[in-house]
């Protein structure tokens, strides 16, 4: 496929310039093939839309933005080599992060070695922030552990006689997916909601019969899936096949995918999911983003595109505030310091970060209500009321 080693600009052949000039070269490596190719392509669309938008408005600091995108084939070895190449040989002025925790960590290490600012769209797992990176910033509202914070608060606010008493957790053996489920588990356990099933399964699991049998047998009031797409769909259908009817069901990732209702059919009603982004959100820059993206691609953006665009917004805010965008250590240090001390308005709301680059926020909680996916938490942004208990599936 043509994406094998895609460089979107001709600047590889125009060799290793040392920044400056009338363009800002942004080096990016993305998983355009391999395991993460679907979200990887989404992130690419987001980055491209952002660059297009910025260039249509005169660029950054009056300089055109040029993206240099390499394909790391979802490999952690390649992603590190890619960033080395982008910084050393291709003369990147700035770098943006790749997709997925597994690729973000090796990539951030390279950026750190060269003193580069590293804003990334997809490192939601706790371990990203435990590596001691002072140059890293996650451009999304919350890390995986905090995705369900609003839901935890809402459950604990339910009067004790109607509140779920037991919970079943099933999580993919993946830092992000597990992180989402365990963030909620920890909070609910602290409040006395008993864990009756706690299953971890490998990413290549194809049969969910046994896991579903355990959960159905436990009759847990609440089922939480720390899931990606296919495992969530397979698990939900298998739970239905075994006649299990929880009072509350929450799954990460899958329910926000447009394919989800097609896969599950009419039985999505009441299913909850955290989401970092919705095209309907009222933030000022979000309207421009949705309009620009929709005009460019003919469909509204999803979370991957939004996180990429947010990355662009965060870096652009720092560049404009500091007034430089070149690879020298002083400029990169000023960009990093500025982001540590300031907050940025983005399409996912106002973002600010702690010293490890972890955003200070929580995800919105969505639920299928009346056949449509609606924001139900937190109260100040909700589009519909939380439905509890969940209708039968």
């Amino acid at each position: 496929m043509a994406s094998a080693a895609l460089v979107l600009t001709g600047c590889l052949s125009s060799s290793a310039g040392q920044g400056g000039g009338d363009t800002i070269r942004i080096g990016i490596s993305l998983p355009l093939t391999g395991d993460f190719s679907e979200p990887g392509k989404g992130v690419r669309r987001g980055y491209e839309a952002w660059a297009d938008y910025v260039n249509a408005r005169g660029g950054l600091l009056g300089r055109r933005v040029e993206l240099m995108i390499l394909d790391d084939q979802s490999s952690a070895d390649r992603v590190a080599a890619d960033y080395e190449k982008l910084i050393n040989q291709n003369g990147a002025d700035l770098v943006f992060g790749p997709f997925s925790t597994r690729l973000v960590i090796p990539a951030a290490q390279v950026a750190k070695d060269y003193g580069f600012l590293f804003v990334e769209p997809a490192g939601a797992a706790e371990e990203v922030f435990a590596q001691g990176f002072d140059n890293l910033f996650y451009a999304a509202p919350a890390v995986a552990e905090d995705h369900y914070n609003h839901l935890a608060a809402a459950i604990l606010a339910i009067p004790p006689d109607r509140r779920p008493r037991t919970a079943a957790y099933a999580a993919m053996d993946d830092p992000f997916a597990q992180g989402t489920a365990y963030g909620l588990k920890e909070k609910l356990e602290r409040a006395g909601i008993r864990t009756v099933v706690d299953e971890v399964y490998p990413p290549n699991t194809t049969d969910f019969g046994s896991i579903a049998a355990k959960i159905a047998d436990s009759r847990a009031d609440l089922v939480v899936g720390g899931t990606q797409y296919q495992d969530a769909v397979n698990l939900i259908v298998t739970l239905r096949q075994l006649g299990y009817q929880p009072a509350m069901a929450a799954f990460s990732t899958a329910p926000t995918n447009p394919e989800f209702p097609k896969a599950i059919g009419a039985q999505t009603e009441g299913i909850l999911s955290p989401t970092g982004y919705t095209p309907e959100a009222d933030y000022p820059s979000n309207k421009e983003f949705v309009a620009h993206y929709t005009a460019m691609h003919g469909s509204t953006p999803t979370e991957d595109e939004a996180n990429a665009w947010t990355t662009g917004q965060v870096v652009a805010a720092a560049v404009q505030a500091v007034g430089c965008a070149d690879p020298d250590l002083g400029c990169q240090r000023r960009l990093i310091d500025w982001l540590h001390g300031n907050s940025v308005d983005t399409v996912v709301g106002e973002l600010s970060w702690d010293a490890t680059g972890k955003p200070r926020g929580a995800h919105l909680i969505q639920q299928y209500v009346g056949g449509q996916i609606r924001i139900v938490l937190p109260a100040d942004t909700k589009e519909a009321d939380l439905v509890h208990p969940k209708p039968t599936w």
Partner: protein
């Protein structure tokens, strides 16, 4: 562990074992007939699953009806593949070269699926996908039961075909001793082609059974090839009853072990069984004399 959970896991294990047997049947046939290690078998399963999904999306009809088209199509592809590609490999290096050849075919199928249907995960939306039949407090999922039924019918059909027909005799003769079969007038080349076609026809049925209850995507076949290879090695390469028994034992074992051990360890059962087989009984545990040739 409660009694109802045990019964439920037993039922699910039997259903899973049936599906595994169906999915592995073709693999053991290819190896039995012509010592071909067919790495593309699971890619063909996913291809059949996609065709079933596409058929349902386009026509709105039940995916099982797609078998009317996919079974003859896959049989034809199998015969063609054997005659045009596999038969050109040199006998001395057949087994090894077939790994490379079928590996590349698997990659081509995966690439074509990605190109035609994108990498988006698909699932057939069935009105009965969540339906179940209650049995002593346990549930039998209807779609899993249908997949099991497909497995029973196909494997029984295959067994009858091999045991009771002239073609079956010729095929078994080809498996047992190719040269002797030629001496008694069997056109072993043609029989080998049909044998390969038959194997691929089971992939059409298996893939459709898989599509009833799985979310599918182009690279899914890599998740299947390992367990399926383990099944046919444990069962005895070349033996269809052996593969069926091994599939049932491993499916049940996986389902039951999952309760105390969890999913990750239960899945390693396949590789432990593979390792133990190769150490203790390299010709497989259930294959009998036929399989011992290899």
């Amino acid at each position: 562990m409660s009694g109802s959970l045990l019964l439920q896991s037993l039922l699910l294990g039997v259903l899973l074992g049936g599906l595994y047997a169906l999915l592995a049947a073709g693999l053991t046939l290819y190896f039995g007939v012509m010592r071909v290690v067919m790495l593309a078998h699971s890619a063909f399963l996913i291809l059949a699953a996609y065709l079933a999904w596409f058929f349902t999306v386009e026509t709105g009809l039940d995916p099982l009806l797609s078998l009317v088209f996919t079974v003859p199509l896959f049989f034809g592809i199998g015969v063609g593949m054997q005659r045009l590609l596999i038969s050109r490999l040199r006998p001395a290096t057949l087994t090894m070269m077939s790994v490379l050849l079928t590996f590349s075919i698997a990659l081509v199928i995966e690439g074509m699926l990605g190109f035609a249907f994108t990498g988006t995960h698909r699932r057939i939306s069935l009105s009965y996908s969540g339906a179940d039949i209650a049995l002593f407090g346990a549930s039998i999922p209807v779609v899993k039961l249908i997949a099991f039924g497909l497995a029973v019918v196909s494997l029984a059909g295959l067994y009858v075909l091999l045991k009771a027909t002239r073609f079956g005799q010729a095929l078994r003769a080809t498996i047992q001793h190719g040269e002797a079969a030629q001496l008694v007038g069997i056109n072993t080349d043609r029989i080998a082609g049909y044998g390969f076609g038959l194997g691929l026809a089971t992939a059409a049925i298996g893939g459709t059974a898989l599509a009833l209850d799985s979310t599918i995507y182009p690279s899914l076949h890599w998740h299947w090839i390992g367990p399926l290879m383990a099944i046919i090695v444990v069962g005895g390469l070349g033996s269809i009853p052996g593969a069926a028994i091994a599939a049932m034992v491993l499916g049940l074992g996986q389902s039951l072990l999952q309760i105390p051990l969890g999913t990750t360890w239960a899945q390693t059962l396949f590789y432990v069984a593979l390792f133990a087989t190769l150490m203790l009984h390299p010709q497989g545990f259930f294959g009998g004399r036929l399989a011992q040739r290899f």
